[in-house]
Amino acid sequence: MEKSVLTTAASIKGPMHASLRHDSAHKHVTGSAEYIDDMPEPAGLLHGALGLSDRAHAEILSIDLTDVLATPGVVWVITGKDVPGVNDVSSGGWHDEPLLAETKVEFHGQPIFAVIAETRDTARRAAKKAKIAYRDLPHWSDIDGALENNAPYVIEPMVLHRGTPETEIDKAERRLQGTFVVGGQEHFYLESHIALAIPGEDDDVTIWSSTQHPSEVQHIVGHVMGIPSNAITVNIRRMGGGFGGKETQGNQFAALATIAAKKLNRAVKFRPDRDEDMVATGKRHDFRVDYDLGFDAEGRIHAVNATFAARCGYSADLSGPVTDRALFHADSSYFYPHVHLASKPLKTHTVSNTAFRGFGGPQGLVAGERFIEEIAYAVGKDPLEIRKLNFYGQPGSGRTVTPYHQEVEDNIIARIVSELEESADYQERRAAIIAFNAKSPVIRKGIALTPVKFGISFTMTAFNQAGALVHIYNDGSIHLNHGGTEMGQGLYTKVAQVVADAFQVDIDRVKITATTTGKVPNTSATAASSGSDLNGMAAWDACRQIRERLVKFAADAWKVAESDVIFLPNRVKIGGEEIAFNDFIKKAYFARIQLSAAGFYKTPKIHWDRKAGRGRPFYYFAYGAACSEVSIDTLTGEYQVERTDILHDVGRSLNPDIDKGQIEGAFVQGMGWLTTEELWWDAKGRLRTHAPSTYKIPLASDRPRLFNVDLAKWSENAEPTIGRSKAVGEPPFMLGISVLEALSMAVASVADYRVCPRLDTPATPERVLMAVERLKGL
């Protein structure tokens, strides 16, 4: 950089709290943003394809790969025996997830071998030519099948217990029992999994992996290869969507690519076809919730007893923390005086289910909302009234303790809900809808206003740490690196804003660089909505260190007090003198000031004892509410979302436009989960909805006809997070529940709102029509 002209701008470009565009927006729209499959391919690149099981549960008697190997262009076939280290990719170290099945398969679509060939097309075609002999074993694909067969748990279940629900539930004036089934969900990131491994000298390998968790890819590859982590570098600049589906599921592709790359000493790429990606990688857990509710005649909850049985698939993967988080959110926003919640993480002969935005929380929360609906119909009141009646109270109210014994200290749900009720005209519209339904025989409408309270932090306390690396080069340009990954959520932009703000320089000066295990080690997954909370703070810490050195240098060199060194936009004021940032940095360099720092952050206050079911798993809560109106056709069950209004809490937003995008996207994804997105396995245990032709995520025409989204601008995080902001990735996903409950009301109108319809999810047109039919019969 040339010696700069001193400008005296009043503010920088891109500070914290500014609505900046996504850093890659320009590249996205011109097609120049590089995803892994777009990178120039190394000379001699080979391609891999998976050979998948076509049995749900069977012993493998023999594997004949003659025809595969005889295919022109095929270079090698990897089987379980070829794994140099341990044939296991289980993220929790459970040894229950072979990279390649050797003696038995436990789901339809489980990888048994991998073909390495000169082209991807050759590898895919050859993979179909294996002859595998099996001996079938009994299998079950779903929760009911697992319960009937006394299926084992994939991991120790959890219980949350407070008060004496055993006796108190009998004392309640009213009581009801029910069952609710909530469906799973395919991530449908637009970019399928991909890994590219480039071999180096000694044990070295460089891996480009579409992963939310580069450190885990590094760890698993080390485990599978039998080599230390220091030989493995994992990089990721951007993913084409993740949503939790790339937290652990990318491990297998990176591991296979590395095995082949090291054996053949050629670069190897694995990019499964969409259908294979959907068959061979995990999804959101579906749950069956059995509940017993005690309440008074007003609808005030007295005691709750509920069991959450989950389809976990054949291995543990993340099912422990996922089913735990379902229990953590089964209270939604409501105080349960006496409560007993138990998880059943059931083994099934299906792909191992995994993380997905909300991580079990949405399944728990939607069950909590179903409890409210049941109670509201039982006492003949508007569900919103029952919601308000049961909200957690303010500190001192005696209604602040969660089932896991954490106090809700930052509760703003009542204010969020009442503001939305007002701005969305809830009461008037509900009255109008009831009047409309009374004289509309075929089309019926419904409206619902539902709250969200979501706990922020990894429940595994150790994961709540992060690192960052900041360099200032002597031309004044800044290099930023941190452990978080970019999957579209705008994390890189937000953290760059933090750095720009810290040094008071325009954000253009901050170069955002690809996440790599070589710069920041031992990172946590970019997950649990924690990306900007953790990495923003780590980057801030790195900037703080450099700033402190710079301030000390300036004070010494200019002989002024440290308090007289002030970072102004793109310049530094030292005593009476102002100097351009570039020139100041150059001087610091010549004075041999260290212009690089590694930052670190760990979330304070949190702790959790899973066995005891007690602690403070969450640093704080994020809140929100949505009001949706729908209309349904009672002849076919087809429906339309007419309008949605959202008021959501992101604390003091780091970037309001990016946060709004997260809220809109999460709402639509949550709505899809509860409406048209249906996973369907046949009697053989085959997933038959394995492509967008059969698995239906929302389209533009499915979004609400009228869609009003607002941030709760007055909100500030009660805890000292980065800029007092709050996490935004997952909480708004659950705003989609308003659509389900609005559909439920439209269905209930058929029986004059006398009964709460059982409406399992996804509430496809079929489920809506069948619910209408059941109510017509009453």
Partner: protein, 487 residues
């Protein structure tokens, strides 16, 4: 006989001869040309991440349409202008208005679907100066985004329309020059391109087509490749030879007469949309729900019939209208009622060497009622759980003629003859309809699959008869489910 095809890729005219019959446009762009802006999201024409524009002459007018490069075979692109996302800004030296609007409105998050959205919105921008929200949604039915929830993209489309196409736009301003080049590139004789012993054959006329089919019993006829594309990308089938017919203007006639509408087998859904919406609005509304815009730009009504799928959407709608099919071959044309073309699952009345030439749709009689209902999990770009056409002529409120046909209810598109019998000659009343509903169980024994259970299918078709009755007698506003495309 030539052994190559020619087209314009972005700014460059080229002749290509080294490709196989099932090589996709997307693989060619990404692997051979290293144009990696177009992405593979699904390789089956559903997600739209691979969308590129293809400019071609339709009735001698240059039109640019979004297509799914992932299931489009390279061999089908002679005399076209292929435009990829890289070209839009490169040709202008600045962002295209659609691109600027997407940046300004935060229309991208992960960015992987974005190039496809840019191309679909550019196609809309070129043809529709003031799109409504419904227009935009329809233009985006073939583009999936998992991040944004679409609101920002819709706003970007509206904002882009504030800047209009002018001479500075390479596609708009350069249209005449491009059209003239494409005219020169049109085939004058049959082209056969061979690679590794596999052949792509491009007849220059339907006479050539008949001759080729007569001596190529193994040939696969490919028009829009919206179905055959998946045979290749998903089932990895070898197709050899492939006979491409999408370029044959003789198969693209669309004629409206007092008797009805004559639709050439090569007419795409998009080409037929305006005419059908005007002449038979209910049919037009169905067309707007078939596939996404890209699939409608490629797929043909002839192909939808020819491949004999039990879940094709147009056959039940056409059978209810009493449509007739014309097949042709070296022995000349042959006409038959459309419904008799479908013999059983996987078997159609098409003899070796024959091809579907056209379909004739009789105009509904004055005063007749006609409706088509498509039931699917998602309203747009979904495959039907059941799709039914209802055609009714009344005389003194008595059922004179009724034709009901459904797809998704049997191994072929099939008439509900028992229901028709239960209604014919009866007064058109709720009682008659209720009494006839049970006869659907005689007509159809549907399956349970991932799209719907048999119970739902049975119940829904009965209820659809009731809906049809109510629509013919009641207030349509009270029955309206959602805004319809052709309104």
């Amino acid at each position: 006989m030539t052994g190559s095809i020619s087209f314009i890729l972005n700014g460059e005219e080229m002749e290509v001869r080294d490709f196989g019959p099932t090589e996709t446009l997307l693989d060619w762009l990404r692997l051979s040309r290293r144009l990696t802006g177009s992405k593979e999201g699904c390789a089956e024409g559903d997600c739209g991440a691979c969308t590129v524009l293809v400019g071609r002459l339709v009735e001698d007018r240059l039109v640019y349409e979004g297509v799914n490069a992932c299931i489009r075979f390279l061999g089908s692109l002679n005399a076209t202008h292929i435009v990829t996302v890289e070209y839009l800004a490169a040709a202008r030296g600045a962002l295209h208005p659609v691109q600027s609007a997407m940046v300004d409105c935060h229309g991208s998050q992960c960015g992987f679907c974005t190039p496809g959205f840019i191309m679909s919105l550019t196609a809309l921008w070129l043809t529709n100066p003031k799109p409504t929200r419904d227009d935009i949604e329809r233009a985006l039915q073939g583009n999936l985004c998992r991040c944004t929830g679409y609101e920002a993209i819709i706003k970007a489309a509206e904002k882009a329309s504030e800047t209009r196409a002018d001479a500075s736009d390479p596609l708009y301003g350069g249209a005449e020059k491009i059209a003239s080049r494409l005219r020169d590139l049109a085939l004058t004789e049959t082209a056969t391109i061979e690679k590794d012993g596999e052949r792509s054959i491009l007849p220059a006329s339907i006479a050539d087509l008949a001759t080729i089919l007569a001596c190529e019993p193994k040939a696969t006829i490919v028009a829009g490749s919206t179905d055959t594309g998946l045979w290749v990308t998903k089932q990895m089938r070898k197709l050899d030879p492939v006979v491409f017919i999408g370029h044959l203007s003789e198969l693209q006639s669309l004629a409206v007469t007092p008797q009805g509408i004559h639709i050439g087998a090569g007419v795409t859904y998009t080409q037929a949309f305006d005419t059908l919406s005007r002449e038979i609005p209910a049919f037009g509304r169905l067309i707007a729900r078939i596939g996404g815009q890209q699939v409608r730009n490629m797929g043909t009504i002839g192909g939808n019939i020819a491949n004999g799928s039990p879940i094709g959407d147009t056959p039940p709608a056409l059978i209810a209208l009493g449509a007739e099919l014309t097949l042709s071959g070296v022995n000349g044309p042959r006409r038959l009622p459309l419904e008799s073309y479908f013999i059983e699952y996987g078997k159609q009345d098409r003899k070796p060497g024959e091809f579907v030439e056209s379909v004739f749709v009789p105009r509904p009689k004055a005063g007749a009622h006609y409706a088509v209902y498509k039931i699917s999990k998602r309203r747009d770009e979904d495959i039907s759980a059941a799709c039914g056409g209802f055609y009714l002529e009344l005389e003194n409120n008595t059922v004179k003629t009724i034709r009901i046909a459904f797809g998704g209810m049997a191994g072929t598109p099939k008439r509900a003859s028992a229901v028709e019998a239960a209604l014919t000659g009866k007064p058109w009343t709720e009682e008659t309809v209720k009494a006839a509903q049970a006869a659907f169980d005689t007509d159809y024994q549907p399956l349970t699959d991932w799209r719907a259970t048999a119970d739902y299918r049975r119940l829904a078709v009965k209820n659809l008869l009731m809906r049809f009755y109510l629509e013919t007698t009641g207030n349509p506003q009270e029955l309206k489910r959602y805004p319809e495309a052709a309104e």
